[in-house]
C-alpha cells in the first residue's frame, strides 16, 4: 500500500485538515482571558454548606451536577453491555444477557489457558484483596478526600481482575462469577435511578436531596450515591475485563 499511503493527494488532505484545525483551535487554546471565578467563589463559600462534602469536586459531581453523573454511568453501562455483546459474538440477545453458562465457560477456559507464572499467581492473588479494600476506601471517603464512587469502582474492578487472574482455575470465587457481577451492576443502576427519584415525594425535585431538610447531614446522600456508583462501576468494568480475558486465545 505504499503508493496509497504516500500519495500526494493523501498528504495534501492531511495537511489541509491539520491546518484548518490548527486555525480553528488556536484562538481558544491561546486565549489570555482570565479564568472566571464566579463558580469558584460561590462554591468556596457555600459548597460545604449546600452539599456537606468537603471535597468540592465531589460536591459538584454528585450534588450540583449529579445528573451528568447519571448520564456518565449510563454511558458506561451501554459501553459495557455493548462491548460484551459485540465480542461475545452472539448478538445483543446475549449481551448482558449474562449468557451465564457461556461467558463463565469462556472465563474459566481462558484464565486457565492464560500463560500463568508463579509470579502472577502470588502477586495478583495476594494483592487483589488489598486493592479491593483500597477501592472501598476511595468509595466511602470520597466526600472528604480525593476519590469517590467512580474512582473507587475502577480500583475495585482492577481488584476483581487481579483476583480473577490470581485464583486457580477451579477455585473461582463468587466475585468472578459473572452472574454475581451482572446482578450487582443491574441492581446498582436501578438504585441510582431510584435514588434520583427519591427527592420527588418530599418535594425536593428530581435529583433533589431528600435529606436536606430532615436535620440529617446532606452528605449522607453523597456517601450513599458514591457507594452505589462505586459498586456498579466496579461490577461493570470487572465484568467487561473478565469477559475480555475470556476471549484471549
Amino acid at each position: 500500500m505504499k503508493e496509497s499511503k504516500y500519495s500526494k493527494f493523501f498528504i495534501f488532505q492531511i495537511v489541509l485538515s491539520l491546518a484548518t484545525v490548527l486555525a480553528v483551535i488556536l484562538p481558544i487554546f491561546l486565549s489570555r482571558v482570565p479564568w472566571p471565578d464566579l463558580a469558584r467563589n460561590y462554591l468556596e463559600h457555600n459548597g460545604l454548606r449546600d452539599s456537606g462534602a468537603r471535597n468540592l469536586v465531589s460536591a459538584i459531581y454528585l450534588g450540583y451536577r449529579a445528573f451528568d453523573t447519571l448520564g456518565e454511568t449510563i454511558v458506561l453501562l451501554v459501553a459495557v453491555s455493548g462491548t460484551i455483546s459485540i465480542i461475545s459474538h452472539s448478538g445483543l440477545s446475549q449481551a448482558k444477557g449474562f449468557g451465564k453458562g457461556e461467558i463463565k465457560k469462556h472465563t474459566n477456559n481462558s484464565i486457565s489457558g492464560f500463560r500463568r507464572t508463579e509470579l502472577i499467581d502470588v502477586v495478583t492473588g495476594k494483592l487483589g484483596p488489598i486493592v479491593l479494600i483500597f477501592g472501598l476506601y476511595l468509595m466511602l471517603f470520597g466526600h472528604l478526600s480525593p476519590g469517590g464512587g467512580f474512582q473507587g469502582g475502577v480500583v475495585v474492578a482492577s481488584g476483581i481482575v487481579f483476583m480473577a487472574l490470581g485464583s486457580k482455575t477451579d477455585s473461582s470465587t463468587w466475585l468472578q462469577e459473572t452472574g454475581a457481577l451482572a446482578k450487582i451492576e443491574a441492581a446498582g443502576f436501578l438504585f441510582i435511578v431510584l435514588a434520583s427519584l427519591s427527592g420527588i415525594p418530599g418535594g425536593f425535585g428530581f435529583f433533589g436531596n431528600p435529606l436536606s431538610s430532615s436535620g440529617a447531614s446532606p452528605v449522607i446522600s453523597i456517601i450513599v450515591l458514591n457507594t452505589i456508583i462505586g459498586l456498579k462501576v466496579g461490577a461493570g468494568l470487572g465484568f467487561m475485563c473478565i469477559a475480555m480475558l475470556g476471549k484471549v486465545e
Binding site: 499511503k5 471535597n55 469536586v57 465531589s58 459531581y61 476511595l138 480525593p146 476519590g147 469517590g148 467512580f150 474512582q151 475502577v154 480500583v155 474492578a157 482492577s158 481482575v161 468494568l237 467487561m240 475485563c241 475480555m244 480475558l245 476471549k247 484471549v248 486465545e249
Partner: protein, 77 residues
C-alpha cells in the same frame, strides 16, 4: 517542571503512534496516562489525577492489551 512533563507527553504520544509493535504503544500510552495524572496532581486536581491513573493506566491498558492480543501485534505500515 510542567513543561518538561508536557514535552515528555509529546514524545510518548509520538512513540505510541509510530511504534511498529502495538504492545509497546500500549505501554507508552499507559505511561502517558501516568504522566498526565502527575500533571493533574501538580495542578491541584487530585480527583482527576486518581481517575486518570485508575482509568488511563489501569482499565484502558487492560482493554488495549486485550484488543492487541486478540488481533495482531505488529503494525503493518
Amino acid at each position: 517542571m510542567t513543561i518538561i512533563i508536557m514535552i515528555l507527553l509529546i514524545v510518548l504520544s509520538l512513540y505510541t503512534l509510530s511504534s511498529r509493535d502495538l504492545l509497546y504503544g500500549v505501554i507508552a500510552l499507559s505511561a502517558f496516562s501516568m504522566l498526565s495524572a502527575t500533571l493533574f496532581y501538580i495542578f491541584n486536581a487530585p480527583d482527576v489525577a486518581i481517575t486518570e491513573a485508575a482509568v488511563g493506566a489501569g482499565v484502558s491498558t487492560v482493554i488495549f492489551a486485550w484488543a492487541i492480543r486478540s488481533t495482531e501485534r505488529k503494525d503493518q505500515e
